[in-house]
Amino acid sequence: MSSPLLTAENLEVFYGSIQALKGISFFVNTGEIVSLIGANGAGKTTTLRAISGLVPNKGQISFAGQNLNVVPTYKRVSLGLAQSPEGRGVFPQMSIYENLEMGAYSRKDKTQIKADLEMCFELFPRLKERLSQMAGTLSGGEQQMLAISRALMCKPKMLLLDEPSLGLAPLVVAQIFEIIKKLNKEGMTILLVEQNARMALKISHRAYVLETGRIVMQDSAENLLNNDEVRKSYLGI
């Protein structure tokens, strides 16, 4: 297999004097869905923030062969890294259409942008019905769809999804995970951060289990689903 798309080595992040990540290492291969699972405060979101450069980190992150540590946040999207952030992060005072346009902010290929818009509408027809509606008036599930679509509008090589199931009804969660699976089938590499370990493991190829800033387990998703430790701590069985 060729070298991984994303590798992180010895990632350490400090918030003041508190160490949120205590030297974690992981990698994501092209075409994979990899999950980071763990409880509150395990460092899942911090890991994503480090990958996108929102928090300073010690350690080494490289993406598509490039050292990310020297790339400022706003340039990482052009390398092919897009994120649907924690809490969805839609711009509430802007319309759905404007939110999607923001996704394509650093792109210039107008015809391709149009095509990608159509693709998003196909994935989430509900967005198309409400193009001029303010994003802040959408339901949680619709905002999550918008956040994922906006990330897709960046035309990424890899999608970082932060808790896409957070606060959503089970039916909507199932729908969104179905879409994530579909995107991956079409070739998208995905790094998924989830508290809902069962859902995440069901669609992932591999997963890492985080506990207070350390990776305590890593395996194929299937093995983790059957692992007694994981079943007890994260799946509640």
């Binding site: 996108s52 946040t73 711009f91 802007m94 346009e101 902010y105 650093s106 960046c154």
Partner: protein, 300 residues
């Protein structure tokens, strides 16, 4: 009745000048959540830039549209450069510092400009170049529409429409709104927040430049402390409308201009400033977020 309408015209004209300056406060607040106290002094420097440039060109006694446009451009450019420099040198290094530090820095920059102004320009007032002759443009019944008021109105309406277009119809305007709403998410999407913030300072400062020339035309006495009172009132206008809200700043400024004019006309000019700040107190008591402002609910 004619008097009343005349006062309304004057009040709207005064209000649109306040609006031009209030927009600078509100835009910077919207994007950085800080009050740029130096804004009123940027406005002052704009007036002096126009003054010196007019003397340099020898057009200080050459009223007309060309003079007006030349001075507007000069003042806008100088104000933009100054605003940009202030942002770079004073505010950007403090981007991650606590809000209070930035606020105190803003007061410091303001004092620095005011007193440097007194050293460089001299403390005594100067006479602003004659930008335009004040004459009655046309009459409706007994109501006189004077060239000054019409000019102020036309120029500020053009400036505000341009701003509206910029913010709501262009890509950079969309990025400004995105950064104002959530800077870190905007940067995830490829927006460089520093560039957008610098651009916001340029736009806000150049509006102050427009304001300075219009005020200089109407009240042609300029001095290094001229920004203090008008800046304070424009700030009140921005708070009144809901700081951070562009439409609110214009609304607040019109209310300020009209009420000030009415107080002078029907009560006493002694109370004009008292009334302006009285409005601020009332607003802070009954609608702390301003007329068009929204209470932000923090979800925990």
């Amino acid at each position: 009745m004619q008097d009343f309408i005349q006062h309304i015209i004057n009040g709207v004209s005064l209000g649109s000048i306040y609006a031009l300056i209030a927009l600078g406060y509100t835009m910077v607040y919207g994007i950085l959540k800080m009050i740029n106290f130096a804004h009123s002094d940027v406005y002052m420097v704009g007036a002096f830039a126009a003054y010196y440039f007019a003397r340099f060109l020898g057009i200080e006694n050459n009223p007309g549209i060309t003079t007006l446009i030349t001075l507007l451009v000069v003042s806008m450019v100088c104000c933009s450069l100054l605003g940009l420099a202030i942002e770079r040198l004073a505010y950007r290094p403090l981007r991650k510092a606590p809000k209070l530090n930035i606020l105190i820095t803003a007061i410091g920059v303001s004092l620095f400009l005011e007193y440097s102004g007194q050293v460089v320009f001299g403390a005594d007032p100067k006479v602003f170049p004659e930008v335009m002759k004040d004459f009655v443009l046309f009459k409706i019944g007994d109501i006189e529409l004077k060239s000054f008021d019409i000019t102020v109105l036309i120029v500020s309406v053009i400036a505000m429409l341009a701003l509206e277009f910029l913010i709501f119809k262009t890509k950079i305007g969309r990025a400004m709104r995105a950064v104002s709403s959530n800077a870190s998410v905007a940067s995830l999407l490829g927006v460089n927040p520093d560039r957008i913030i610098a651009f916001t300072f340029i736009v806000g400062s150049s509006l102050a430049g427009v304001g300075s020339v219009l005020v200089g035309m109407k009240y042609p006495k300029i001095d290094p402390l001229m920004g203090m009172m008008i800046g304070l009132k424009a700030f009140v206008a921005a708070v009144l409308g809901g700081i951070g809200n562009v439409g609110g700043a214009v609304l607040g400024a019109l209310i300020m201009g009209l009420s000030e004019e009415m107080v002078v006309a029907y009560l006493s000019s002694t109370y004009r400033d008292a009334f302006a700040f009285g409005i601020l107190i009332v607003i802070l008591i009954f609608r702390p977020a301003g007329l068009l402002g929204k209470y932000s609910v923090e979800k925990v």
